[in-house]
């Protein structure tokens, strides 16, 4: 559940900022393959504070948007984001969702899992699959996790992050 002290409006502003960053700032960044996936960061931050159904629905929406904008294999990103969002929401019960590093680790591993599902479902060749999962996906996972850390630090009150944990 979203904590009481973080209003939905405040979190909505953060997610709006992430959307703008994703569609307006990200194309201007030099290395697009390694630049952070702002939408995915938003999805994970939302999923870790929401019920699994809502997280799956958010993942479905973001995946649908991704599939519509890059329709290499329609449905692959939708499936991947739905699964990752649902799993992220479930696994928060196992880990401490208010820990800063746990959030960052969730983002990194979730992004790698998303890429794995997308590539596997899209039917990528073995070699390109390995290259993506061994080089580009970890790079993007690291940058996305670092960016998630920045967001959580900047808006720690709204996301109920404990820095002393």
């Amino acid at each position: 559940m979203i904590p009481a002290r973080a209003s939905r409006l405040q979190l909505g502003m953060v997610f709006l900022l992430l959307i703008v960053l994703h569609f307006y700032v990200r194309p201007r960044l030099g290395a697009s393959r390694a630049s952070p996936d702002f939408l995915f960061v938003g999805l994970l931050l939302y999923a870790m504070r929401s019920p699994p159904g809502a997280a799956a629905l958010a993942g479905f929406a973001i995946g649908l948007a991704a599939d519509s904008l890059t329709p290499a294999r329609f449905g692959a990103a939708t499936l991947a984001h739905t699964v990752v969002g649902y799993l992220a929401s479930w696994t928060r019960a196992v880990f401490f969702a208010d820990n800063l590093l746990v959030n960052a680790a969730f983002v990194a591993s979730g992004l790698w899992l998303r890429d794995l599902i997308v590539l596997a479902v899209s039917g990528s060749a073995d070699r390109s699959l390995l290259t993506e999962l061994a080089v580009y996906s970890p790079l993007q996972a690291v940058t996305s996790a670092l960016f998630a850390l920045l967001v959580l630090l900047a808006f720690r009150e709204w996301f109920s992050i404990r820095l002393d944990a």
Partner: protein
């Protein structure tokens, strides 16, 4: 134990997830055309603002690149414009050098001057031609304006020239009028290195200001007739027997970029270095020649135009005069009547 509301909450989540998963699988395994049409519909409706944002970002990125390219082009144009006067001057110097090479009767080697940024640059010059090109020690070096100096040492690909500004430079010279002879050397009067002195002129021989001084050919190093400088005044005179004149050098070694090395100088080179007035006459002559050629061409064009006009007029006349032939089946096989000759009407 979980309460009933929590169980329903979990069940609802599961159902939502399964619905989303099912829709994803439907999208995944549906025909490509369906997926593409759904994507297009979403891009045109819900995702339109995001696509617009992305387009703006791409435009911003490319406009930045374009601005950088335009700035680079502008800088290049400014740089070229800055170098244009010096290019024109170099072009003019090269033209003059080309003219000089055509006028020279003796063989020569063209060389580039490799200037060094030193205080003594101008006294000695480094040239881009050496023994491989046929250059040897004591070969005279000239520019279109006149004498530069003499080759002091030669390497395989380069050579060193002692110019007239060098303190040890000497050349035997005489006035273009032929009434005075002496030796030209760099000025020691403290006026500056850019001046020469015409020494050893007999006291009785007066040389007017502006007189051109040429190499005399004595000594065998410099051939006769190379301009050395022009008289600008008297430096000093030793009563009774000698006058020393100041000369304005004909050529400036400090600014020269290309020179000719005379590898086998012989005879009088006076005709290769015409005076300023002669050059002016030559230039005017060439301009007149061009003008004359132009006028001949213009006359030819006028004549052609007149001829074309008259032919057109004749054709108009003949079309008016020529009777229209009526072709009848009976006359088809018969002899054809001769047509009207256009030339006749001209007469």
């Amino acid at each position: 134990m979980a309460s009933a509301s929590e169980r329903s909450y979990t069940r609802r989540d599961t159902v939502t997830f399964l619905v989303c998963l099912g829709l994803s699988l439907v999208g995944l395994f549906s025909p490509d055309s369906w997926g593409l049409s759904i994507a297009a519909a979403l891009r045109g409706s819900v995702l339109a603002p995001l696509v617009w944002l992305q387009v703006r970002a791409e435009e911003g990125k490319t406009s930045k690149v374009r601005l950088r390219a335009i700035t680079a082009q502008r800088d290049s144009a400014a740089y070229l414009a800055q170098g244009l006067p010096s290019l024109l001057a170099e072009n003019e110097r090269l033209r003059q050098l080309l003219l000089l090479s055509r006028r020279l009767a003796s063989s020569y080697v063209a060389a580039e001057v490799l200037h060094e940024a030193q205080a003594t640059d101008g006294r000695t010059l480094l040239l881009s031609a050496g023994s491989r090109d046929g250059v040897s020690v004591f070969d005279p070096v000239v520019a279109p304006e006149g004498l530069i100096g003499v080759v002091l040492s030669v390497a395989k690909r380069t050579s060193i020239v002692m110019t007239w500004a060098h303190p040890e430079f000497r050349v035997s010279a005489f006035t273009v009028t032929g009434n005075a002879a002496g030796v030209v050397a760099p000025s020691t009067s403290g006026v500056g290195e850019s001046a020469l002195e015409f020494r050893g002129v007999p006291y009785r021989d007066s040389v007017p200001v502006g007189t051109l001084v040429l190499s005399s050919g004595l000594g065998g190093v410099y051939p006769k007739g190379i301009p050395v400088g022009a008289v600008t005044g008297v430096v000093r005179e030793q009563a009774g027997w000698e006058r020393v004149y100041r000369l304005r050098p004909a050529a400036n070694p400090g600014s020269v970029a290309h020179v000719l090395i005379l590898v086998a100088p012989s005879g009088d080179l006076g005709r290769a270095f015409p005076s300023d007035s002669m050059l002016r006459v030559q230039r005017l002559d060439s301009i007149e020649r061009v003008r004359r050629t132009d006028s001949v061409a213009q006359a030819a064009r006028d004549a052609r135009a007149r001829r074309a006009d008259s032919i057109a007029a004749l054709q108009r006349d003949t079309t008016r005069v020529r009777p229209r032939r009526v072709v009848q089946p009976d006359t088809m096989a018969g002899p054809v009547a001769p047509a009207a000759v256009p030339g006749d009407s001209a007469r």
